[in-house]
Amino acid sequence: MRRDIVTSVIGIVVLTVLLGLVYPLFITGVGQVAFPGNANGQKVYVGGKLVGSKIIGQSFSVPVLDRNGKPKEAEGELVTEPDPRYFQSRPSATEGGSYNAAASTFSNRGPNDRATEEADAENIKAYLELNKPYDPALTVAHIPVDAVNTSGSNLDPEISSANARIQAHRIAAKRKLSLSVVDGLVSNYTDARGLGFSGEPGVNVLELNLALDRLAGGVR
């Protein structure tokens, strides 16, 4: 008994040093030396300013201003509306505003919940309002699921290429570009499936939007 206790206590201490300090420090060290970009979160800078991480989704919305020209807030959250000049990410339901990467969370919308249907219907309506004026043939039947459903992390950096191609109509009109130019950009930024067979092809929204800005000659 006593022997077991002594061995257990020494064991926990020694193994904590090995597995809790040496191991993470070693891995982090290797990461920092061999893959510094990836280990630090694939930061994206524009003009020396950090604009986000390549693999963390973000919102391309602008704050809505009230009559005094100040950003409007409701229930402590900034009220925003989509910036039509940018491709929009998937809907996100993190607390404290969408795409809150300091506190990731699942939406936990059940498959048979009326609340899920309502959220879906609302997102469909918003999507149609945003895009139909530029793509008159657009109906609910054409809307890909990723444009309506929230993701697992609510920080999904990608949208489907079908989603991007619908939004391309709006982008082309808003930025006075030809549709083929925008479509070409979408194709350039559509990733293949992982290893050629696994997962789904997707478009990284941040990269695509930054490419759009570069096309237009720098940040607006």
Binding site: T7, I10, L15, V30, Q58, S59, T105, R109
Partner: protein
């Protein structure tokens, strides 16, 4: 459904099997003390550890001594982890390792978390990035990711030694098995795995949370941390406790379809290899193949159902008018709670894998799975972790079922049941029967308590109306009693307002009940399994005769599947009817 989706599933199984056969051979050598490739490098550190721990590795322990070492070691781990988590913002913790100055979670949440990590469950009533300091994640949670995995594996090894033992009492030495498991099995794969993950974009740093200013004039704060090291052992040890709240759905934990595939391999590699190791150690590889066939049949069935159901879409989507079939440029399906880069197949496969094993990591929200798709994690848990199962726990659980199947088979043909030359008698059958019943008992008893009481129902989320609320509750206790740790994540109760961090969830009732369930359903079966091993170890071997029922052919595989479904799944059938099956069959909205 898509061709590439099915291809992913098939390729995964082929690659897994090939790797597991090789690792199984390696592990059999490790536990029989043969020389392996790593011996020249690791023999020194191994001897050093024995010296520091003051153990005599060659001294065999009978089942009681083995169990005593295991329990005391786990208890010591429990106390130390509790201490670490409760002193998260003590004066000696450097600021850089707790950059946001988080206070410790309250005692009740900590009780749950500690019980959870020590039992290899990793149920989380907290959100990683809003509760835990970097130091707590490293020296607290990461360490138990290793140790609880090691403890699980050594129990399986001890049981195999009992089965093959030739009239001795020794099951081996707990300390030797533990040290060898960590050094020779977990460490090489985990280090390699972590480096692969960081090369693909899993982060590994100690920097403060980033503040980004987006092109549209918003600010975004991005959580950081030493993730890669924890991610690798979290998957490899079938632990499953995410660094971040959304676990492997988070792009920093699982950035690409490739890492998704790789993480799935990490989860299943040891549970699958243990089956082949068992075959080798018994001296008859066909014994291992028979078990592998059994679990693979059930696993593939589960994957296929989950994939088809999720690809079909959910009633809520259809009611909103959404079209869920595959179109050009979109995979369709029930993408609610799923990431674009993994798609439907990558999500269904991942969550099936982590619920057949005791991993419990998720890359998509199980709560948002369709009724039938969500019934798959349910059934996986209902089968009590025998379909591959957790590292070690899977093998020893299914071996208890094998024992039961041999017994039932023996009764059917009217002969004394024999298993690998050993006569099975009342004592072993009683112990195995008890071992099999502990988990269902804990799960159903706790679910009943939680649904029948106000304190229990407080944990059900606002959105969890009707059968969804029941599903949340049943899943919570099923998951905790199976030491799985995945969740219908709406089942958290409120955020504790005075915790000093913003991520401590759960009400006291659920924290305590869950913690007790996890401890009971982990150490109960472990003790019973070791007792079975002890009972078998002393038996003499008689050569197989003409009348001996074979345990390595197709007939036995069918019998074993039958017993598992009969005992495991049917225990839960009435409860499953009330939740996921109602939802899957009606399409009604609540």
């Amino acid at each position: 459904m898509t061709f590439s989706g099915w291809l992913t599933i098939v390729l995964f199984v082929v690659i897994l099997t090939a790797l597991a056969i090789a690792l199984g051979r390696y592990m059999a050598k490790v536990y029989t003390g043969e020389r392996v490739w790593f011996t020249p490098i690791l023999a020194g550190p191994e001897r050093f550890l024995y010296k520091v721990l003051r153990v005599e590795p060659e001294r065999g322990q009978d089942w009681k001594a083995y169990a005593k070492s295991l329990i005391i070691f786990s208890l010591a781990g429990w106390l130390v982890l509790y201490l670490i988590l409760r002193t998260q913002n003590a004066f000696y913790v450097p600021h850089g390792l707790n950059p946001l100055g988080y206070h410790s979670a309250p005692w009740n949440v900590t009780f749950n978390t500690v019980s959870s990590f020590v039992t290899n469950t990793n149920w989380q009533y907290y959100s990683g990035e809003t509760t835990m300091s970097y130091l707590s994640q490293m020296i607290g949670l990461t360490v138990q990711n290793w140790l609880s995995a090691g403890v699980g594996i050594v129990v399986a090894v001890a049981l195999v030694r009992g089965i093959i033992g030739r009239s001795g009492k020794s099951l081996g030495n707990f300390w030797q098995d533990l040290v060898r498991t960590i050094l020779y099995v977990l460490a090489p794969i985990s280090v390699l795995g972590a480096i692969v993950l960081v090369s693909q974009g899993v982060i590994a740093n100690f920097s403060n949370y980033l503040t980004a200013h987006t092109v549209t004039g918003l600010t975004q704060t991005i959580a950081m941390g030493p993730v890669a090291s924890q991610e690798a052992i979290k998957m490899l040890g079938t632990n499953g406790g995410g660094f971040f709240n959304v676990n492997s759905a988070h792009p920093f934990e699982n950035p690409t379809a490739f890492t998704n595939f790789f993480e799935m391999l990490l989860v299943l590699i040891i549970p699958a290899a243990l089956v082949f190791m068992y075959g080798r150690m018994t001296g008859n590889r066909r014994q291992g193949y028979a078990i592998y066939a059994t679990v693979m049949v059930m696993f593939l069935g589960a994957v296929a159902v989950a994939y088809i159901a999720e690809a079909h879409g959910s009633p809520a989507q259809h009611a909103a008018g959404l079209h869920t079939q595959v179109i050009s440029g979109s995979g369709g399906g029930n993408l609610e709670g799923k990431e674009q880069r993994f798609g439907i197949a990558g999500s269904a496969l991942f969550d099936t894998i982590t619920t057949v094993t005791s991993c419990g990591a998720v890359n998509s929200a199980i709560e948002s799975f369709t009724g039938i798709g969500g019934a798959i994690p349910f059934s996986n848990l209902s089968a009590s972790e025998v379909i591959f199962g957790g590292v070690g726990t899977g093998l020893y659980s299914i071996l208890l079922y094998v024992l039961l199947a041999v017994f039932i088979g023996g009764l059917m043909v009217g002969r004394t049941p024999e298993w690998l030359g050993k006569k099975l008698e009342a004592r072993e059958i009683k112990l195995a029967g008890l071992g099999i019943l502990v988990t269902p008992l804990a799960a159903l008893f706790a679910t009943a308590l939680a649904t029948a009481s106000h304190a229990g129902r407080a944990s059900i989320s606002e959105l969890g109306k009707g059968p969804q609320g029941f599903s949340e509750t049943l899943y919570a206790y099923l998951s905790q009693s199976n030491n799985n740790g995945s969740a219908f994540a709406g089942y958290t109760g409120f955020i504790q307002p005075s915790a000093g961090n913003v991520g401590s969830h759960g009400v006291t009732f659920a924290d305590l009940l869950g913690g007790l369930v996890m401890l009971f359903a982990r150490f109960g079966p472990i003790l019973l399994t070791l007792a079975v091993a002890g009972a078998l170890a002393g038996k003499r071997v008689t050569p197989a005769g003409l009348g001996t029922m074979r345990t390595d052919n197709g007939t036995f595989v069918v019998l074993l599947i039958g017993v598992i479904i009969l005992v495991g799944a049917l225990t839960f059938f009435p409860a499953l009817l009330l939740g996921p099956i109602v939802q899957g069959l009606t399409g009604h909205l609540y």
